[in-house]
């Protein structure tokens, strides 16, 4: 027999290293002579899209075509420390560092352009990689023309910034801290499942998600995080387990260690709650880790709703479900 159920889970995640641990990111943005703009960062893009996010941020600040950017990343000898791609921190930390570096660069563009145009900053405008006087927009300098002028003065159109917010180490006895983590991301998910009471197999039919993230720098990529995180959480709920007995892994391959396939994964509906109220770039918060946290409890709660059995041990495998249903039947007698 197939039984449907729904379960909800709401989670929070304090991101950044927090706990007083020094946590910062350094980035630079520079107008190059070849019509390009160079961003340097050591932030690892492991697929989540930090390089895309910082390109968008820098393009937004500098009001320039994002295709103008190229990035030197991931070389210890060519970049400065951006901290880790972990702790849900790169959009917030490196995003802010790039934003501030781009802003510093923009200030230099205004400064040097004001010398060229013999004007005050308020009389100047920038658009599409050009700087001009508002009263004479046709008579503009491109950033790259300006860079050449600046170079002759022995200077560079270059901005570098470090984002280094403080947190405080917790009291060792009580764990209390005025500022433990830089900020918190929240997520609520409702999972709908169908449990086959003959085989114990669980199908996750649908997951509805609402994510409080301040601002999505790139909504499509945020959805990608949410969908991928949810399916990892589903794997944790239902099938993933590296079985280690006496120190020996019994399933050290993908034949025995099961992650969800395209056929197992549900449709995931995303709602991004954007109040632009956080201290990340443009009001953003990090989303990487939180997206995976709610799925397992939401599914566990949905299974309870479907069959009236509560599970306290993950993963909730077909065997555990069949055994629990048998016990439930026995107890009902």
């Amino acid at each position: 027999m197939k039984k449907k159920g729904r379960g909800m889970a709401t989670i929070m995640f304090g991101f950044g290293y927090g706990e007083g641990f020094p946590d910062h990111s350094i980035a630079s943005v520079e107008i190059e002579k070849n019509g390009k703009i160079l961003i340097r960062t050591a932030a690892a893009d492991v697929g989540q899209g930090v390089l895309t996010v910082i390109t968008q941020i820098a393009a937004e600040v500098l009001k320039v075509d994002p295709d103008r950017f190229y990035i030197i990343q991931g070389d210890t000898h060519l970049t400065k420390n951006s901290g880790s791609t972990s702790a849900t921190r790169q959009t917030y930390f490196t995003g802010n560092a790039v934003k501030e570096a781009a802003e510093e660069l923009l200030a230099k563009i205004y400064h040097y352009a004001s010398l060229e145009f013999r004007s005050n900053h308020p009389q100047l405008g920038v658009e599409d990689g050009k700087v001009f006087r508002h009263d004479d927009p046709e008579n503009y300098l491109t950033y790259w023309q300006l860079a050449e002028i600046v170079e002759k003065k022995g200077e560079r159109l270059y901005g570098e910034a470090s984002f280094f917010p403080r947190t405080y180490a917790p009291d060792p006895e009580t764990g209390q801290s005025e500022r433990m983590y830089v900020a918190y991301t929240f997520l609520t998910q409702v999972a709908e499942v169908e449990v086959d009471t003959d085989t114990g197999l669980v199908e996750v039919l649908k997951v509805d998600s609402a994510l409080d993230l301040g601002k999505a720098i790139n909504p499509q990529n945020v959805e990608g995080q949410l969908e991928g995180g949810t399916v990892q959480g589903m794997g944790m709920a239902l099938m993933e387990e590296q079985v280690i007995r006496e120190g020996i892994t019994l399933n050290p391959d993908l034949t025995g260690y099961l992650v969800p396939t395209a056929l197992d994964s549900p449709r995931i509906n995303s709602c991004l709650v954007e109040n632009e109220d956080a201290d990340g770039p443009f009001g953003a918060k990090g989303v990487g880790e939180p997206t995976t946290i709610a799925a397992a409890p939401a599914i566990a709660n949905a299974i309870y709703d479907a069959i009236g059995v509560r599970f306290y041990e993950l993963p909730i495998t077909p065997e555990k479900i069949i055994r629990a249903l048998k016990e439930k039947e026995k107890n009902a007698l």
Binding site: T10, V46, Q56, D75, P219, Q242, D279, E289, I293, E313
Partner: protein
């Protein structure tokens, strides 16, 4: 050119990835490339008594077999505590099946693999501790010198006794979670090259934390940081698994020992056995609430299986504890967390960093309480959820961007939530 932020700007690296042109570490080749394989511990907890690599060295095509004897001055490595040996030496201990005993460098993968089989290992077996509860016993053999409890943290806010006394209902349960592999699709891999003239070791490898990985490699090899250069190719997923050292130091040694470019690629099995896991946790949670559905006290005890080495454990397990109430207002909170060494594959960072396991516990507790109180679980969550001004278990005031109630309301709307069956 505004409105780029907030738009679905296409991924800057996608074009390379859909055409197969993106270069991942294993995609790098040199003409005179050598292949590296690592001989790993045959037992999860034992002293290494004899290591005979002579037969392996005799195998035609084997260029070098490196053991701890060749590099007696190597320092241990680790993300927070440096407790992990690069190579287990004679008389030293292997603590899990991923510990390295020897590094084989050969002209082909096949020769390197064959050579592994020719290495003779003799060990003195010790009790294998696979269960963190056993590890905490007084009579359990110590896996590391300072005992098996790696670290303990405490949490104390308000007065839980008072909180429980004021509760109409108390739910107390024990939750357990499993070993999970982050399973990035690309197994650990890298290429190394040593430039004798400059003394710089170049490593094309993935890491989630470029400069810290560089620093850890350098300290382990006793080199100044600038002598280790990491160049990050495309990274085939991470999820926490690429925070720890994997191929890096072994590649550096192989490159220095041979002067030729070297490649080390893990098999999936090697990746699963050798590299970090999500911590299995035992979470004992006790939660009190009033009959009109407000939380009064929350208490947790957390035991995290750290496995054989510390990795991120000193940060992960208590981070889970610090999130023990979820996003809900609770005045009185108390907790204790232990990270415990065992002979299992070591645990480290994985997406959620301890809070993923804890969410299973607190969101189950919330669901149980709602059902026992006869409240709609969504309403129960809503009325306890944080808002601006709420205090976390750590006593941090949430001053801005606290829209958790809005997420609950949206989820209710999206799912057409009309409550679940209430018993």
């Amino acid at each position: 050119m505004t409105g780029i932020v907030g738009s679905n700007f296409l991924k800057v690296d996608a074009r390379d990835k859909v055409t197969g042109r993106a270069i991942y570490p294993d995609d790098i080749y040199f003409d005179d490339l050598l292949y590296v394989k690592v001989k790993r511990a045959p037992h999860p907890h034992a002293y290494l008594r004899k290591l005979d690599v002579s037969k392996a060295e005799e195998l035609p095509g084997v260029v070098k077999v490196i053991t701890a004897t060749d590099y007696p001055d190597l320092n241990k490595f680790g993300l927070i505590i440096k407790d992990q040996p690069v190579l287990v030496g004679i008389g030293e201990k292997m603590r899990y099946l991923g510990d390295a005993l020897a590094i084989v460098v050969a002209e082909s993968r096949e020769i390197a693999t064959r050579a592994l089989d020719l290495i003779r290992v003799e060990v003195e077996e010790l009790e294998v501790i696979s269960d963190p509860l056993r590890a905490m016993d007084d009579d359990a053999p110590a896996i590391h010198e300072d005992g098996n409890i790696l670290i303990t943290h405490y949490l104390d806010k308000g007065d839980v006794e008072k909180g429980f006394a004021g509760a109409d209902i108390i739910v107390e349960r024990e939750y357990r979670t499993q070993h999970i592999d982050q399973l990035p699709l690309q197994p650990e891999a890298g290429v190394g090259l040593y430039d004798e003239e400059s003394g710089v070791i170049k490593l094309w490898v993935a890491t989630q934390w470029l400069h810290d990985t560089q620093a850890d490699i350098a300290q382990s090899l006793g080199l100044p940081r600038e002598k280790v250069r990491i160049i990050q190719p495309a990274i085939g997923g991470a999820f926490g698994k690429r925070e720890d050292i994997s191929v890096h130091i072994h590649l550096a040694l192989a490159a220095m020992a041979t002067g030729r470019p070297v490649k080390l690629t893990y098999t999936r099995e090697e990746s699963m056995i050798t590299q970090s896991k999500r911590h299995p946790m035992i979470i004992r949670a006790k939660t009190g609430a009033t009959k009109d559905g407000y939380l009064t006290a929350w208490q947790v005890e957390v035991i995290g299986d750290a496995g054989a080495y510390a990795s991120s454990s000193p940060a992960v397990v208590h981070k889970g504890m610090y999130h023990c109430t979820g996003p809900y207002n609770v005045e009185n909170v108390r907790g204790v967390s232990h990270a415990v060494y065992t002979n299992n594959t070591y645990s480290g960072a994985m997406r959620g960093f301890g809070t993923t396991q804890m969410a299973f516990a607190y969101e189950s507790q919330m669901d149980i309480l709602a059902h026992e109180l006869g409240l709609d679980p969504a309403q129960f969550r809503l009325q306890n959820a944080y808002q601006v001004g709420s205090l976390t278990p750590n006593g941090q005031v949430l001053s801005r961007s606290v829209n958790v109630r809005e997420t609950i309301k949206k989820a209710i709307e999206m799912s057409d939530w009309k409550g679940v069956r209430v018993e």
